[in-house]
């Protein structure tokens, strides 16, 4: 009897906390894989790219039809627009697999992306690990061009972003990281900027945000300059002139990068000391010297260092003068060391940042010359 009561009570517990009403069959839903958000005439236009399981592999049209469908709706808020999608598509949208948000650059500049971030972080079924990209023109165009080497255009962009480490010219910035950076002293963070060139989608640098509003763009080389300073470059290639001047004719693949950044506040003002040690492997050589000679190698290494220095300084000047934003997140570094700085507002910090000095010390080493030690026609 006592056992029966226990069983009855535990069943009651099970069924009061979860149950059949929260079940959904896979054939009643569609997975939203990406969402594009625009704003026109005070209305949010939302376009979702969602799975279409009715299109089986190897369909009648030779290579098989695309396994996704694109649908759009308008609404007064993002969620309103998302709900209005049910007027367009027969299945329930399932958001937990939505990994990509595309936002139009004009919208990001004028209105900021506060609403988007709120929509994606407040609801339990959406994930903070999603990526946001900024694009010029209509944001849903990204979805309307077929994917290359992937089934879904949204996943294609995601994979491109996740390869950021290979070149150093992109950033791997999920929503949660963006939010954390934007909450810092600098109030600055960035998202990948994606453009469409014909059939290809291309990551072209980053869109810089301050206080969740887009304030400008930097190109991929400048983005790498930023990444150098932030210590985010691990792999990639650097092209520079073999003899220190003239054409960029020699390529080195990075092997090991170590990075040290030291913020310093003195009477005269702030200073940032950055030490970067790079070892690389020669992959293309455009010079004519026999590299086995130590002077030639020295010369090459020096040119290599200068190239990196050039990239960083370019990014530095753009950040200080053009963008007027601490894209390097130096504010947080200073805050970590000088705690009283944690109180500063983004505006106050910007003033300090614009007067900061940069001390660069770059040490490069080319450890491997590859299969030959001489130019191809080594005479």
């Amino acid at each position: 009897m006592k056992k029966l009561v226990i069983i009855y009570l535990s069943l009651a517990l099970v069924f009061s906390s979860a149950g059949c009403w929260s079940r959904t069959e896979l054939d009643k839903i569609t997975f939203v894989l990406g969402v594009a958000i625009d704003r026109e005439q005070e209305l949010y236009h939302i376009t979702v790219l969602s799975t279409d399981p009715t299109k089986k592999e190897g369909g009648e049209q030779g290579g098989g039809a695309a396994k996704y469908t694109i649908s759009s709706a308008k609404g007064k808020s993002i969620f309103d627009a998302a709900r209005n999608l049910t007027l367009v598509i027969p299945r329930r949208n399932y958001w937990a697999h939505c990994k990509l948000i595309v936002v139009n650059a004009d919208y990001a500049k004028e209105k900021g992306i506060k609403e988007v971030l709120d929509f994606f972080t407040r609801d339990h079924s959406r994930r903070r690990t999603a990526y946001l990209v900024v694009t010029p023109g209509k944001s849903d165009d990204i979805f309307r061009t077929p994917a290359v080497l992937d089934e879904f255009p949204s996943r294609e962009i995601m994979e491109i972003i996740q390869q950021a480490k290979a070149s150093g010219k992109n950033i791997d910035m999920p929503l949660y990281k963006f939010i954390a950076e934007s909450q810092g002293i600098t109030g600055t963070s960035m998202f990948t900027y994606v453009t469409r060139k014909g059939k290809d989608k291309q990551a072209e640098g980053a869109a810089i945000f301050r206080d969740l509003k887009m304030i400008g763009l930097i190109n991929p080389t400048e983005l790498r300059g930023v990444n150098w300073l932030k210590g985010n470059v691990r792999k990639g290639v650097v092209v520079f002139p073999a003899r220190g001047e003239g054409q960029d004719d020699t390529t080195v693949e990075l092997q090991k990068v170590s990075h040290k950044l030291e913020p310093l506040l003195t009477e005269e003002g702030g200073r940032v000391q950055v030490k970067i040690k790079v070892t690389g492997m020669l992959v293309e050589y455009g010079g004519n010297e026999k590299i086995i000679k130590e002077e030639a190698l020295k010369e090459m290494e020096e040119s290599f260092s200068n190239q990196i220095k050039k990239e960083i300084l370019q990014a530095w000047s753009i950040a200080q003068t053009d963008l007027k934003a601490d894209v390097f997140l130096l504010g947080d570094k200073f805050g970590n060391k000088y705690h009283y700085l944690l109180e500063t507002t983004p505006e106050q910090w910007l003033e300090i940042f614009q007067n900061l000095e940069l001390e660069l010390e770059i040490e490069t080493k080319i450890t491997s010359l590859g299969m030959h030690r001489e130019p191809v026609l080594g005479r």
């Binding site: 079940r23 959904t24 997975f31 009715t54």
Partner: protein
């Protein structure tokens, strides 16, 4: 009711044997009325009237002819002195000859295959041990085969089974107790244990339980198992059935008790713990690295066999965010067009598989295989093409089924099959949360079970760290130094101190 009947039978008076042969014969003929398999063979031994009684088919005719009849007919030797004594000690070339004057005892022994010699003028009857009947030869184990190790299994004859054990223990330490159970059909039971290892209280308890059995017949050792187990209502078996004498011997060496029953090619092992159902003798005959790996494989298979369909149901109906996106998309594409909810699909496919399995078991061996292959292929393929089941569900069902076949001994498949269906229901109603709650109860139940006083989940609960060497891994023999703590407390050390192959 049984008790009264038993008392009545106990009181039933058997007449005593007298010196008058005819009177004795009358008694026996009366008792064995209409037992046409009992042969009454009249003889004359050195001018005295005699009768030989035996049961057709239960005796060794060669011994009867050569060692008894020929002796009886060759009078010469028998003339000197007392006939019965001479027959008993001198003339009959039979291993075991004894005298008795109890009619009840005589009838029991003639029906169990002994021969009786009734002599005119004596009030004692000679019992001759000449049992011998057609029996199956000792064959390789069929339910728990292993590549290495002894290829013997128990057979239906009790004496042979005892001998199989005795050959492994040429020592007086192996004790064998006799019992006869069954009101209508008395059956011989033997309890075997090692005196120096087994807990006397355990023996006492086993004997008590066996003695308290009151049933008309025991047709298989599973009858006995059901009558003496601790938890009659549990899904799980708390007494293990084995057919390998080497497994039985290993159990004896851990301080367990082996129960043998006549007419059964299986032995019972008590007490039994849960992880014994996941151990195979092969583990001990292979290298220990491989034995350990296989053991983990088996644990994984147990998990799959129990949970896979329910996890599938839970993930596809409740927790679609849990799997990687591309996996989920592929699952969704496969389920497209299937008219049933995943829960029903899982139950129907599981049911179909159980039908196939049962059919394959019942059909004659040659047909059975064909039926299961054709059935599986056709049903599986047709169900997918017709859009009644998703390919993923077929894979899940097949993987589950195959996993369930990795259990090395009989007895685990039954509870797991039932629990699997219950789990699918639980997950269909409440997703992973349902599975979790169900598992909680399952573990609670397992932990509450005991087998002859030993906790069923020993050594995990209660946690006995010393015994984990035979559960988490298959420790090398020279590392597995101690017997199970709860079983063989009196004599724990299994292997000599400091002995290992490299510390000689």
């Amino acid at each position: 009711m049984f008790k009264k009947q038993k008392e009545a039978e106990g009181k039933k008076e058997y007449p005593r044997v007298s010196k008058n042969l005819d009177a004795n014969l009358k008694i026996f003929k009366g008792q064995l009325n209409n037992c046409s398999d009992v042969i009454f063979k009249p003889l004359i031994i050195s001018d005295k009237q005699a009768y030989l009684l035996y049961c057709e088919g239960l005796i060794d005719t060669k011994v009867l002819n050569e060692n008894i009849l020929q002796v009886c007919f060759a009078d010469c030797e028998l003339k000197k002195g007392e006939l019965l004594t001479r027959l008993k000690y001198r003339c009959l070339a039979v291993g075991d000859v004894s005298c008795t004057s109890q009619v009840k005892e005589c009838i029991e022994s003639v029906l169990s295959g002994q021969a009786l010699l009734l002599l005119e003028g004596y009030d004692e009857i000679l019992k001759l041990e000449i049992r011998g009947w057609d029996k199956r030869s000792i064959e390789a184990p069929t339910t728990s085969p292993s590549v290495k190790g002894p290829q013997e299994s128990f057979i239906e004859t009790l004496q042979v089974n005892v001998a199989l054990l005795r050959r492994r223990f040429i020592t007086s330490d192996l004790k064998i107790l006799n019992f006869t159970l069954g009101e209508r059909a008395p059956t011989y039971i033997k309890i075997c244990y090692l005196e120096s290892l087994a807990n006397p209280k355990l023996i006492e308890e086993v004997v008590r339980r066996i003695k308290s059995v009151n049933i008309d017949a025991l047709l298989d050792v599973s009858y006995l198992e059901e009558l003496i187990e601790d938890e009659p209502y549990s899904l799980f078996r708390t007494v293990k059935t084995v057919e390998r004498p080497d497994t039985a011997a290993a159990s004896l060496l851990e301080g367990r008790v082996v129960i043998l029953q006549d007419n059964t090619p299986f032995a019972l092992i008590a007490p039994t713990t849960f992880h014994q159902f996941l151990q195979s003798v092969g583990d001990y005959y292979d290298r220990y690295y491989f034995g350990t790996l296989i053991r983990y494989l088996r644990y994984a298979a147990l998990f799959l066999a129990l949970y896979l369909p329910s996890i599938y149901v839970a993930v596809t109906t409740f927790h679609m965010e849990m799997l990687p996106t591309s996996f989920m998309i592929s699952l969704q594409a496969q389920r497209e067009g299937v008219p049933f909810p995943a829960l029903l699909e899982a139950i129907v496919m599981g049911f179909a598989f159980e039908v196939l399995r049962e059919a394959g078991l019942r059909l004659p061996r040659a047909v059975g295989q064909a039926v299961s292959i054709v059935g599986a292929l056709i049903i599986g393929d047709a169900a997918v093409t017709a859009g009644l089941a998703s390919p993923a569900m077929i894979i899940v069902t097949a993987l589950t089924a195959i996993s369930a076949f990795t259990f090395p001994v009989l007895g685990l498949n039954e509870p797991i099959t039932i629990l699997r269906f219950l789990l699918v229901l639980a997950s269909g109603f409440a997703g992973l949360w349902g599975i979790l709650i169900f598992t909680l109860f399952l573990i609670g139940h397992l932990a509450s079970l005991r087998s002859f006083g030993i906790p069923y989940l020993n050594p995990l609960a209660p946690f006995v760290i010393e015994d984990l060497d035979d559960m988490l891994v298959r420790a090398p023999l020279w590392q597995n130094k101690k017997r199970p703590l709860l079983l063989a407390k009196r004599n724990l050390v299994r292997i000599g101190k400091r002995y290992s192959p490299y510390k000689r």
